[in-house]
């Protein structure tokens, strides 16, 4: 009887510990950058160059993550990149002339979209498009420009200005 109780107790403790550890690993170690809003609205923006922006990259305003990139595609007619992203519906008073730029977190960090508020009385809503955009800064182009500075403008400069 005592034997069985020890086994039961040991197994129970082990299972509890294991499940607790699994829970800890899945909830505590992974992304607090996870953005999961119940309701979102979708906005589009066109960029000349998205750099290395990836799907699921954060969209932030004043440094707070308010949305996430859901799709990046290339428009073959306008020859531009079209980035689709969703914004938490709680933030429904963002002026529609806000400015979207692709920024880099830190020197070697991943890229994200930063929004700077405009002053329009009309707000962004489902299906709006942001017209004021600023492309990603491509480090290689900057370095290239820096190295070729002093040469004439049209040699070697295939940047995207």
């Amino acid at each position: 009887m005592k034997q069985t109780r020890t086994i039961e107790l040991g197994t129970g403790l082990f299972a509890l510990l294991g499940i607790g550890a699994l829970f800890f690993l899945t909830t505590q170690t992974t992304g607090n950058n996870d953005f999961d809003a119940a309701e979102t609205f979708q906005v589009e923006a066109r960029f000349d160059n998205v750099g290395s922006l990836k799907k699921r990259a954060p969209v932030s305003m004043s440094g707070v993550t308010i949305g996430r990139v859901t799709n990046i595609r290339f428009d073959p007619v306008a020859l531009e990149a079209v980035v689709t992203f969703v914004i938490d519906s709680r933030y429904d008073e963002i002026p529609d002339d806000s400015d979207a730029s692709i920024l880099t977190a830190g020197l070697l960090g991943s890229q994200y979209i930063g929004l700077q508020p405009g002053g329009s009385p009309v707000y962004l809503e489902e299906g709006s498009e942001i017209y004021f955009t600023q492309s990603a800064v491509i480090l290689e182009n900057l370095v290239g420009k820096f190295l070729l500075r002093g040469g004439s403008d049209d040699d070697g400069d295939d940047g995207d200005e």
């Binding site: 082990f14 294991g18 550890a21 690993l25 505590q28 992304g31």
Partner: protein, 254 residues
Amino acid sequence: MLRDIWATFIGFLHGFGAMCLFFLRLLQYTPSVLYKRFSLVAYQVYNAGALSIVIIMVCGLFVGGVLGLQAYSNLERFNAEDTTGIFAGFALIKEIGPVITALLFAGRAGTALASEIGLMKATDQLSAMEMMAVDPLRYVAVPRFLGGVISMPLLVAVFTAIGLLGSHLVAVELLGVDVGAYWQQLQNALDMEDVMEGIYKSIVFGVIASLLAVWEGYNSVPTAEGVGRATTRTVVITAIAVLVFDFMITAWVL
């Protein structure tokens, strides 16, 4: 010479095929054992899992600690001590947690399983069961196999969590990395997919380690020497298989 190599190869193929068939028979009995004889499985979870918990926790603490030390002393050169958490977290969750747990499991529980079954065979207990029309595969092999398979993911989770705690202790408490930076960097860098990779690995390693231990015991030569050899082979083959599969899973997931 060539003939010897050929014979060895055929012998290997023979053993490997037999093991695959053994695995299929284990799987075939799994549902009925889980459903009708769950108490046997639960006892083996205690045997393989609960009794391994102390070695897993102690090793996890020190492995995590040494990762914290190494990461800190190397990252310090680039003034990037804050990323110690990323280094330790990635290493523990994706690689070191599952692999070292599987190796420890092979040493602690695998050998126990192999020698137990081997001794049962050497003392004719398995034959006696067969005489009574009791299938030893169903009553001896399958519960032990399932006990190991169930225990392994839990052991890996415990090892990894304790390892993170160990690296936290070393990096934050001992070496003075900022506690916020440590966890913030770790949480930003890790995705759910990374944790899932560790969990997939733990499941595969659980199947490999338990299967090999049960197979070696079941297939051992029924003498004292044979049982000893089965125990050794369990550890050696499990270590090789786990490391090979670790490479393959990583290559496949990435």
